[in-house]
């Protein structure tokens, strides 16, 4: 009954997540709007492009009821541009920037429950324009690798140059993976690494290695860290200049 998986999403769970991304569908058949659990869908009227979640788009595609319009970044032009950025020596240290988050959802008062959906901030895979035709051409969305892979597998005939896109996607993946591995040189027991621009599947791929390493290093360094923490706490107290013998005595008892 209990889930036998260790913490951290598996590759197929990341795939499940990416299927909630919205893509642009060009219907070949009419379909009225549906009242789905995740919100209403727009009615399909050929040939007007309509945004739909990827899982539904793939279902329609398989039954030849619709075509999928690939997002602008998932094209030879878009991907070569991003590939150039990734391989440029001036930007060798960073990943190409990810798409921007939408503005924050209203003001929070501070007493809302955990995950109260009154003021919930949207994040991938629920951004409105990350994989639709309105998506930025020069930024990869969080689920770029998964969306690209699924579209190339199930809707290859909707691309102008599927082979070119596939090749670029593979190149991009290799360039970014080697960058990610190089970046882990800075890892130490404290964790604290900024990973802006890294995608969902890439995180799933390195999670086991990174998590294991950081936690392992931390366990080895535990005693050193504890003694440093104590020393720093002491320094702070002395810095305030207010610690008397009595205070130290109290601390000892804690």
């Amino acid at each position: 009954m209990a889930l036998p998986l260790p913490p951290g999403l598996t590759a197929s769970e990341v795939g499940f997540l990416c299927e909630m991304e919205l893509v642009t569908v060009i219907p070949r058949q009419r379909l009225e709007g549906l009242e789905l659990l995740g919100g209403p869908t727009q009615p399909l009227n050929p040939p007007f492009p309509t945004p739909l979640p990827l899982w539904l788009a793939l279902l329609l595609k398989k039954q030849k009821r619709a075509n999928i319009n690939p997002p602008a970044w998932l094209s030879v032009d878009g991907l070569s541009h991003i590939h150039d950025f990734e391989t440029d020596t001036r930007t060798a240290e960073v990943f190409s920037p990810s798409q921007a988050l939408p503005p924050p959802a209203g003001v929070r008062h501070g007493y809302e429950d955990y995950l109260s959906s009154d003021v919930i901030d949207f994040a991938p895979p629920f951004l409105a324009n990350s994989s639709t035709t309105g998506a930025q051409a020069d930024a990869l969305p969080y689920h770029w690798l998964e969306v690209g892979h699924l579209l190339l597998t199930h809707a290859a005939d909707d691309f102008d140059d599927p082979e070119g896109v596939r090749r670029l996607l593979r190149d991009l993946r290799e360039v970014r993976m080697s960058k990610l591995r190089k970046g882990f040189k800075v890892l130490d027991a404290g964790a604290g690494v900024k990973l802006n621009g890294v995608g969902g599947m890439e995180i799933a791929e390195v999670r086991g290695f990174v998590g294991g390493m950081v936690d392992g290093l931390r366990k080895i360094n535990r005693s050193r860290e504890e003694s440093r923490r104590e020393r720093e706490a002491e320094d702070r107290e002395n810095g305030l200049g207010g610690s008397s013998y009595q205070d130290d005595e109290d601390d000892m008892q804690l």
């Binding site: 889930l3 913490p7 549906l34 659990l37 995740g38 429950d113 629920f126 923490r229």
Partner: protein
């Protein structure tokens, strides 16, 4: 109720329907629970709303199946596919929680004495009766033959606690949804402060982002 909420939402502002927001919230709940080492509070209203809708959707599907209209066949496939996706989310979410409850039962039993929102009533019931069964079994099979002083399962004598706890310092991947101030990073040589800025992706210790995650300023990925 949902319909009214949806209408109100559409009138007041160009906002997203409540159902879509709940899907985002449920997905976040699932990912957070799957990736964090510790148990997060149980989002009762959210799960209740989702389960209500799932029940209604099943009724709708049954009605459509009854009409046997060949045209509605495809609609039915879509509705059922989506229903299965929702059921998977809820099930995986609950199972991830049960896995943690099973792993650290005594720790969470002690925590629920002070924090009632941590477990749902059903989870509490499960925890209590599972623990009762386990300790009865341990007592019956071997603990009763031990000396009195060694029979406890939650001994904290001698400065060492028998109660297992989740490791708060585990590294987690997270995304900052709102500027969440600074957190301390204990490096090998020095302690540094970093700013959590909206849109950033970080590898940090769970203890550093736990509060921000519960507040909703940070989500795990």
């Amino acid at each position: 109720m949902d319909e009214i909420d949806d209408i109100l939402a559409s009138v007041s502002a160009p906002t997203v329907p409540q159902r879509t927001r709940d899907l985002q919230a449920l997905t976040r709940a699932w990912v957070n629970e799957r990736t964090s080492p510790d148990l997060l509070p149980y989002p009762t209203p959210l799960v209740d709303r989702v389960m209500d809708r799932v029940k209604k959707q099943i009724e709708t599907i049954e009605e459509i199946t009854g009409t046997l209209d060949p045209k509605s066949n495809f609609t039915l496939v879509i509705l059922q596919t989506e229903l299965e996706r929702f059921k998977f989310l809820v099930r995986s979410f609950l199972r991830a929680r049960i896995a943690k409850i099973d792993k650290y039962p005594i720790h969470y039993r002690d925590l629920t004495l002070t924090d009632l929102s941590l477990l749902s009533p059903l989870e509490q019931q499960y925890l209590q009766s599972h623990q009762a069964l386990l300790s009865a079994h341990y007592n019956g099979s071997f603990l009763a033959t031990f000396p009195q002083a060694l029979q406890k399962l939650d001994d904290t004598a001698g400065g060492v606690s028998m109660v297992d706890k989740p490791d708060e310092e585990t590294a987690v991947f997270c995304r900052v949804l709102r500027d969440a101030g600074t957190v301390e990073i204990m490096g090998e040589t020095a302690t540094t402060d970093v700013d959590l800025k909206r849109g950033d992706l970080w590898l940090l210790r769970w203890s550093a982002v736990k509060d921000a995650t519960v507040r909703g300023d940070v989500e795990l990925v």
